[in-house]
Every structure is written in structure tokens, then in C-alpha cells.
């Protein structure tokens, strides 16, 4: 379990550089529970990576704390055996071979070399690829190597920053299965992403951050139930009209779908009464997460009032 309590990271205003006086993370609190995948969402520069760096002791917090199973990361005797970390797959010595990077990590943790081969197999890096230097790796291969490093010590907690970046569709599916499997065995997974669909498919819980502050957190179902219902019918105009008659405000989207804040059961009942055949009726998940994300982080978006 990961516990973050009123974590703040402020860059001293007396310092130099573009971050001087900037509050990257502002009183952030949340938990990532064992047995669940927690998605950490936010626009670029919202403070996701800074929060994760503080968790693993690479950045010193200005105030507040982050603990792993009740202990500060820096106090863990051999952190690699308890927490698997992947913050940036490209942050490796370009002149080492993939295998050597794993072998060095294994030697640091005191693990046998055989573990390296197991991990290479797990992340599907072939022996030939493992012998190549990382400078020649594609981003997807670096991500696989990073995942292998994170899993090397057989940890119970995973902290992954944008792990799906650069993976092909098969790789993304593989990653998803790997992480859900890890969580179903009781592991704790915290993963950040701006790939909304990816998070939506995999996460059980969501933490949304914008401008360094938590703007929403809870289970995915809770957060998305607020997203309303999407319905389609052969005559969308009639459906919208029927909903209006029944006192349910709705909007008719350009693609012929009808969206409303009411739950699907209510929409179905209205359609039945009006004798309208529905061709699709579901909670507005797909667009829901995106809408939620954009509205929650609207004032922090670079593109202005995106929602």
C-alpha cells in the first residue's frame, strides 16, 4: 500500500532556473490500495512525475510524506525487493547492453544472474536484443527493459510512470494483462498515464491531479457514474424529445448519440414508454473519462477552456 499525505514540493524562489518559486505538488494526499490498480491521471506538468519521484526518494519533499507499507522509501533496507520502480525508460546508460543493465540491478539487490534471464523472457526481449546496447533500442524495447528492472526483485508494489508509452498495441495488451495479474495476486500498482483509454481499461481507482493539486479521486466506477448515459436510437431527435418530455435534460451530439446525466435505467424506461427502439444504451464511459478529465483539469490545460 502506498500512502501519500499532504505532500508539497515547492522550488525555492531564491533559487535559479525556470522552476524557481514554482509549486509542483501542493498538499497532495491519496492512497494506492493492495490488490488494485490505481491510475494517476493529469495533464502534462501537473505534478505526476514529481509526486512519483518524491515517493521513491529522488526528490526531497518540502513538507508532507509518502510511505510504502508504512515506511519511508529511503528507510527500506533493500528497496528493489519491495518496490518496483519505472520512472523513465530512457534514463539508462546508453552504452550498456540491455542484459547488463538488468545484471547490474540484480547484483545490486543481491539476486542471482538466473533471475535476469527469467525477466528477459517475461518481457519478451530476445537474447539477441538483450546483447544490443540500449542506445539502439526503440522506446518500446526500453519500456520492456524498464518493466523487467521493476519486476526483477519480485516486489509487492509497483510505481510506474507512463509505462505504456511507446508500446505497440500488442505490447499495451501485454502490459495490461501483466499489471492486472500483478494486482489480482495482491500487489499494489500505481501507474500514471495521460492515455485515458489505457487507464480506463486497467485502473480500479483513479487519482486526478491538475496544477499540483488533487482534483478528484475515488473508484473508477464512482467517478464515471457521474459521467451520465449515452444512448443511440434510429431516431435520435425523437429520443431527445421524449427525454425532454419526461423532464430529463439531454444533449444531441453531432454523431447522432444522445447524452444525459440520468442513469441508463431511466433513459431505457423513457424510451420504452415513448416506443422508441434503442440501438445502444450505456454509461458514457469512453467519452466520460475524457470529459471528466478535461472538465476537472480545465483551468490547468495549456489549450485553455478545452472542456
Amino acid at each position: 500500500m502506498i500512502t501519500v499525505e499532504s505532500l508539497t514540493r515547492r522550488y525555492p524562489s531564491t533559487g535559479s532556473g525556470r522552476r524557481a518559486g514554482f509549486t509542483a505538488v501542493d498538499s497532495v494526499s491519496f492512497t494506492a490500495q493492495p490488490g488494485r490498480v490505481t491510475g494517476f491521471l493529469g495533464p502534462n506538468g501537473a505534478g505526476k512525475s514529481t509526486t512519483m519521484r518524491v515517493m521513491v526518494g529522488l526528490t526531497v519533499p518540502t513538507s508532507g510524506s509518502a510511505t510504502i507499507n508504512g515506511e519511508r522509501f529511503a528507510d527500506l533496507p533493500n528497496p528493489g525487493l519491495e518496490v518496483g520502480v519505472l520512472l523513465d525508460a530512457s534514463a539508462q546508460h546508453a552504452g550498456r547492453t540491455g542484459r547488463e543493465i538488468l545484471a547490474v540491478a540484480a547484483a545490486t539487490m543481491g539476486l542471482p544472474d538466473s533471475r535476469v534471464d527469467e525477466m528477459l523472457e517475461l518481457v519478451s526481449l530476445t537474447p539477441t536484443e538483450a546483447k544490443r546496447r540500449v542506445r539502439h533500442y526503440s522506446l518500446g524495447m526500453r519500456q520492456r527493459l524498464g518493466i523487467a528492472t521493476a519486476l526483477l526483485g519480485d516486489p509487492r508494489v509497483l510505481i510506474l510512470d507512463e509505462p505504456a508509452n511507446g508500446l505497440d498495441p500488442a505490447g499495451i495488451r501485454w502490459m495490461r494483462d501483466l499489471l492486472t495479474g500483478f494486482a489480482s495476486r495482491g500487489g499494489t500498482v500505481l501507474l500514471s498515464s495521460h492515455l485515458l483509454h489505457e487507464i480506463e481499461v486497467i485502473a480500479d481507482d483513479l487519482v486526478v491531479i491538475g496544477n499540483g493539486r488533487i482534483v478528484a479521486s475515488g473508484t473508477k466506477d464512482e467517478l464515471l457514474s457521474a459521467a451520465g448515459t449515452l444512448a443511440r436510437s434510429t431516431s435520435p431527435r425523437d429520443l431527445a424529445h421524449a427525454l425532454e418530455e419526461a423532464g430529463v435534460p439531454s444533449t444531441l451530439a453531432g454523431d447522432g448519440s444522445v447524452r444525459t446525466d440520468a442513469d441508463p435505467a431511466r433513459v431505457g424506461a423513457v424510451a420504452l414508454t415513448a416506443g422508441i427502439a434503442l440501438t445502444e444504451l450505456r454509461s458514457a464511459e469512453g467519452a466520460g473519462l475524457e470529459d471528466m478529465f478535461l472538465s476537472l483539469t480545465a483551468d490547468t490545460q495549456r489549450e485553455g477552456a478545452a472542456a
Binding site: L87, S90, Q92, T108, R156
Partner: protein, 270 residues
């Protein structure tokens, strides 16, 4: 209201603490030694130490007059490439964690940065001792071969009091490089910095000593190059000379290293 028994499993679940032992320092030193030479550049630096030493010893055999075919000449020749390469190895041992960003992994596997830097320091000293031992060995082979080819008597003129000074001189060079690495945390900047303090600065200090007489007496106390050359020559003998070495070591190594370490421990690793 009916009494309810609180199921015990809702009580605070104690996290299962794994029996993880702290990572032993010897293990960290082994890892850091490995990391110094498992890259292409690290590997070739190691090879170049051996190859250049042999070439230097060989050129003494070819070019030096017979009177110079002595052990001291060979040791000096085969040790010269090392006095340049060893500081580079020391610099890169530290700075590659930042310049290549591998520190992101290193410092998450071992959060105590002081321990990592300490292990790097020990590994650097071990490499220095090994390399200088190699220089002595190559020098000895060169001396045997050279004197046989020239048909002169084999002269062993490196005494037991001079040899440790040569070792120490090389370690001083490595320590300067290591310190620059800790302070700058950037490969290019630290290497440039090394050439400034080892090539540019001594010239300026000598010039200053020539034009300002009050500085002439002061120079040996602040010019680390001066005290290092004295070590290479085996000429650090009196108490005052050792005090000069202590002074330059304090100014150029101990103080900057402590300040650099303080900053390094709190800096953000990105």
C-alpha cells in the same frame, strides 16, 4: 440494538514485512567496479591503460639513451598515460549517473546516495591501486627487456620510499577528478574542469609566483599540481613538504568534496 461481533479481519492488517537485509557495502563496491567497465567507453579506457603503458615502456626501449635505461624511467613512462586516464575514470564513475541518467535506477535501488558515492570512491581507489601496480609491472618488464637489448646492467632505482609516493600521486589525481565529478555532476563540465585545474591553472599560478614575490612562497601551499609532481618525483620528504600536500589536498579535495556531497545528497535526480 443487537450486539455485533466485530470480525477480526477488519482489524489493522500488519503489512507482511519481507526479510530484506540491508545491502552490504562490499556488494555495492563490486557493482560500482562493474559499472566502471561494462560500457564501451569504460571498457576501452581500461584497455587503453594497459596498451598505452606498454607502448610508453616500449618507446623508452627504442628512443631513450642507454644511460636512461633504468627502472625509474620505465615506471615514469608507463605511469604517464595513467596519470591522464585515471582521473577520467574517476570523473565518469560519478558523473555518468547524471549525464547518462542511470542515477534514476541507481538511487532508487540504493536510496542512500552517500553510500553509493562512498562505494564509487572505494572502487576508484581499487582501480587506481590496480593500475599503478600494472605500471610498476610493465615498467619492470620494460626494464629487463630494455637493459638486455641495450646490453647494459639492469638498474633498479625506484626505492621503497619513492614507490608509495608515485601511488599516492596517482590517487591524488583520481581524487581531484572524483571531486570534480561530485561537484559538477556532468561529464563534459567535469572533464573540462579537470583540464582547467590541471593544465591551465598551474601555469597561471607559476606566472603569478614569478611576478609577485609574496605569492612565490605561498604557491606550493595552494597549487595541487606542484605537490602532485613532487609525489611523482618521489620528492615529498620533509615535514613541510607533507604539510604542503595536506594543504593542497584540503583546498582542492576535502573541502569541495564535503560541500559537493552535501548538495548531491539533497539534489533532485531527474
Amino acid at each position: 440494538m443487537t450486539a455485533m461481533t466485530i470480525p477480526t479481519d477488519t482489524a489493522q492488517v500488519t503489512p507482511v514485512r519481507r526479510t530484506a537485509r540491508p545491502i552490504p557495502t562490499s556488494q555495492l563496491v563490486r557493482v560500482e567496479l562493474r559499472k566502471m567497465f561494462d560500457t564501451r567507453s569504460g571498457f576501452w579506457m581500461l584497455v587503453s591503460i594497459g596498451v598505452l603503458s606498454a607502448i610508453a615502456a616500449g618507446s623508452v626501449v627504442v628512443f631513450a639513451p642507454d644511460s636512461d635505461i633504468t627502472y625509474a624511467t620505465f615506471v615514469r613512462a608507463s605511469g604517464f598515460p595513467m596519470s591522464v586516464i585515471l582521473p577520467m575514470i574517476a570523473i565518469l564513475a560519478v558523473t555518468s549517473e547524471w549525464s547518462q541518467r542511470s542515477g534514476l535506477t541507481t538511487f532508487t535501488l540504493v536510496p542512500s546516495r552517500g553510500r553509493v558515492i562512498g562505494a564509487k570512491g572505494i572502487a576508484t581507489v581499487l582501480v587506481g591501486l590496480g593500475s599503478v601496480a600494472l605500471a610498476f609491472a610493465v615498467g619492470a618488464l620494460g626494464n629487463l627487456a630494455g637493459s638486455a637489448l641495450a646490453g647494459v646492467d639492469t638498474v633498479w632505482d625506484v626505492s621503497w620510499s619513492i614507490a608509495p609516493q608515485i601511488v599516492l600521486g596517482n590517487l591524488v589525481g583520481m581524487a581531484i577528478g572524483f571531486t570534480l565529478g561530485v561537484v559538477m555532476r556532468n561529464s563534459a563540465a567535469a572533464i573540462v574542469g579537470y583540464f582547467v585545474v590541471s593544465l591551465v591553472m598551474p601555469g597561471i599560478l607559476v606566472l603569478l609566483a614569478q611576478v609577485r614575490s609574496w605569492f612565490e612562497d605561498l604557491q606550493p601551499w595552494i597549487d595541487w599540481n606542484y605537490t602532485q609532481v613532487e609525489l611523482f618525483e618521489g620528492a615529498t620528504n620533509t615535514g613541510e613538504e607533507w604539510a604542503m600536500l595536506g594543504s593542497t589536498t584540503m583546498i582542492w579535495i576535502v573541502i569541495p568534496l564535503i560541500v559537493g556531497l552535501l548538495f548531491l545528497r539533497r539534489s533532485e535526480v531527474k
